[in-house]
């Protein structure tokens, strides 16, 4: 699962893979267009629905947070 998420991130925003901070959206590493594309690819890939309530800076603060979000949604 992790590998697939990283692949999606690589396709849309390579910098996200090297980013080591914890505010990717505020730091301009990932913009809202990229977030939308990443979300739709994650939904298609894992057959999950990422509601608007999950699309917040906290869940997109770095690649680990995105992996944790997908993990959580898969478990729900």
């Amino acid at each position: 699962m992790e590998e697939k998420i990283l692949e999606i991130l690589e396709e849309h925003c390579e910098e996200a893979l090297d980013y080591e901070g914890d505010s990717m959206m505020e730091d301009g590493v990932i913009d809202s267009f990229t977030v939308i594309n990443v979300v739709s690819d994650l939904e298609d890939e894992f057959d999950i629905e990422i509601d608007a309530k999950y699309v917040v800076a906290e869940n997109f603060r770095n690649k680990e947070a995105i992996i944790a979000l997908v993990q959580k949604l898969l478990e729900e």
């Binding site: 301009g28 267009f33 939308i36 979300v39 739709s40 298609d44 608007a52 309530k53 699309v55």
Partner: protein
């Protein structure tokens, strides 16, 4: 009561003293009392609109909280996934219905107050008599700001991104908090409630930093923005045909700085006041004129408004049923530009509403659409631009960064001609003047001093802008200028402090024949 008035400074000092004298547990009551008083003085009346929004926000929040608890209880009784999904959907439907009702009511109030004046001539034409009740409508202070702030709280409460507030007075304080009620920044309930509930102890250093930020904001407002305002008002106030294009270009470039100095000046003052009370307001500007693209410019300019539209309009649309359907249909058609359809529709929606929010003229609507179209084109063309850059062997570096900055300035420049002109026809004439009668030589002649500013004013402005640029460059490098100055020897430190205060007192545009101009964003 303007933030930049002696009355406000006295008000602030009294609130400050009382805030740290009362028991820590009731400090937020002082803020609430001060905020309501500040608002009533500004409005010169009873804040009916604010109370209505406060009451509906509180009521809707309580309803959402109850429904969310009931949903959790109901989910515990469910056996399978399907049943859970059905229960979730049923509760979500109920919550959405109330949220939509709430948003329609509050946006309706905003639209009524903001656009009632436009309905006067229309009604007069069709009914033959002037609708007196509409002419008496006065837009409540800060309605554009507190309405969006309140809607943000309700959406967050529904999404469970913040806990529901059970005290009406705390909801009211959140909406009316006096440093930010008139012009923002837009705050989020979660971050503000935590701060309101904390116990705040007086700290001399913090007070000093707050006062410094307030003075810096006043410097930008009085020395830079209001001085530029005299020139811009006069240039834009005369018949377009009588002014050379170069003077209009100069006035528009200065207007770009005026808008920035005025609004960021206000934000610095509001944040400074708030800092003395140990309440941190979110950043609203990050040196936008250093941006290398329009998208970056808007990530640095009025950050909290951009964040509001992104979270509550853009993402709400994209993740909605209709947004998902469009997205899926477009993605199925391959990897062409169509895959950007949803972000583009979202962007256009955001910018249409941003234009509407800013002003009630056609110029503002076009201004919004202009930015929406530019952002959408940038998104679609991004791979092509990258390809051209590679083909032309353009390397990243200072030259390229400067080119990107200049390109962004030009785009913002054109947009600002649109919003500074009082009509579309006037904006058109100004654009024509850039081509047909630029007359750049006139900028170096005495013609430039015929619009309210003397040679002395221009020299002063130049040095004030130089100080501002130096501070911005240091901030861009990640330095906290106030800390840098605080670490200098006492002579240097006080030279900086007194220098700014003296410049402010001697060269600020106020008193005498001038009145301190109202903050520009107050009218939005």
């Amino acid at each position: 009561m303007q933030l930049i008035s002696y009355t406000f400074v006295i008000f602030w000092m009294l609130v400050f003293a009382l805030y740290y004298l009362v028991p820590k547990k009731v400090q937020w009551y002082v803020l609430l009392g001060a905020s309501v008083l500040f608002y009533m003085i500004g409005l010169r009346g009873i804040p009916v609109g604010l109370f209505l929004t406060g009451l509906t926000t509180y009521g809707c929040g309580i309803y959402l909280g109850r429904k969310l608890s009931q949903e959790k209880e109901a989910l515990k009784q469910c056996a399978g996934k399907e049943e859970k999904r059905a229960v979730k959907a049923a509760f979500q439907k109920k919550r959405k219905r109330v949220q939509i009702l709430y948003i329609v009511f509050n946006l309706g109030l905003l639209v009524f107050y903001k656009y009632a004046v436009l309905a006067v001539p229309v009604m007069e034409r069709y009914t033959g008599s002037r609708p007196d009740f509409l002419t008496r409508v006065i837009m409540p202070l800060g309605i554009s700001f507190y309405t969006l702030t309140a809607i943000g709280y309700i959406v967050d409460a529904g999404r469970e991104n913040c806990a529901v507030e059970s005290s009406f007075l705390k909801v009211l304080l959140f909406l009316a908090y006096f440093p930010s009620v008139t012009q923002g920044p837009f705050t989020r309930f979660k971050q503000m409630r935590e701060q309101f509930e904390q116990e705040h102890v007086f700290q001399y250093e913090r007070m000093l930093r707050g006062v410094q930020r307030f003075v810096w904001g006043a410097f930008k407002k009085l020395v830079i923005a209001d001085r530029i305002g005299i020139f811009v008002d006069q240039v834009y106030g005369v018949e377009a045909a009588s002014v050379p294009g170069s003077i209009f270009a100069c006035a528009t470039a200065l207007y770009m700085l005026q808008l920035y100095a005025d609004f960021s000046g206000y934000i610095d003052m509001a944040a400074g006041v708030s800092e003395t009370l140990d309440i941190t307001l979110p950043d609203n500007f990050k040196r936008p004129y250093f941006a290398g693209s329009v998208a970056e410019f808007w990530r640095r300019w009025h950050i909290t408004l951009g964040g509001w539209f992104k979270d509550y309009v853009m993402f709400s649309f994209v993740m909605s049923g209709i947004g998902r359907k469009i997205g899926k249909a477009c993605r199925n058609k391959g990897n062409g530009p169509g895959r950007h359809a949803v972000p583009i529709i979202g962007t256009m929606l955001v910018w249409f509403f941003t234009g509407l929010w800013h002003g009630r003229t056609i110029n503002y609507m076009l201004w919004g659409l202009y930015y929406g179209v530019i952002m959408s084109i940038s998104l679609i063309m991004e791979p092509a631009f990258a390809g051209w850059k590679a083909k032309l062997h353009i390397k990243e570096g200072r030259g390229w960064a400067l080119f990107c900055m200049a390109r962004t300035w030009m785009i913002v420049f054109a947009a600002d001609v649109l919003i500074r002109s009082e009509s579309l026809a006037k904006a058109g004439s100004i654009f024509v003047s850039f081509v047909t009668r630029l007359q750049p030589g006139r900028l170096l002649s005495s013609a430039v001093t015929a619009y309210g500013l003397s040679r002395y004013d221009f020299i002063l402005l130049f040095f004030a802008l130089l100080i501002w640029l130096s501070v911005s460059l240091l901030e861009e490098r990640g330095l906290d200028v106030r800390s840098v100055i605080a670490d200098r020897p006492v002579v240097v430190r006080w030279f900086c402090y007194y220098g700014i205060v003296l410049l402010l007192l001697i060269t600020g545009i106020y008193g005498g024949s001038y009145d301190t101009a109202a903050f520009m964003y107050q009218s939005f």
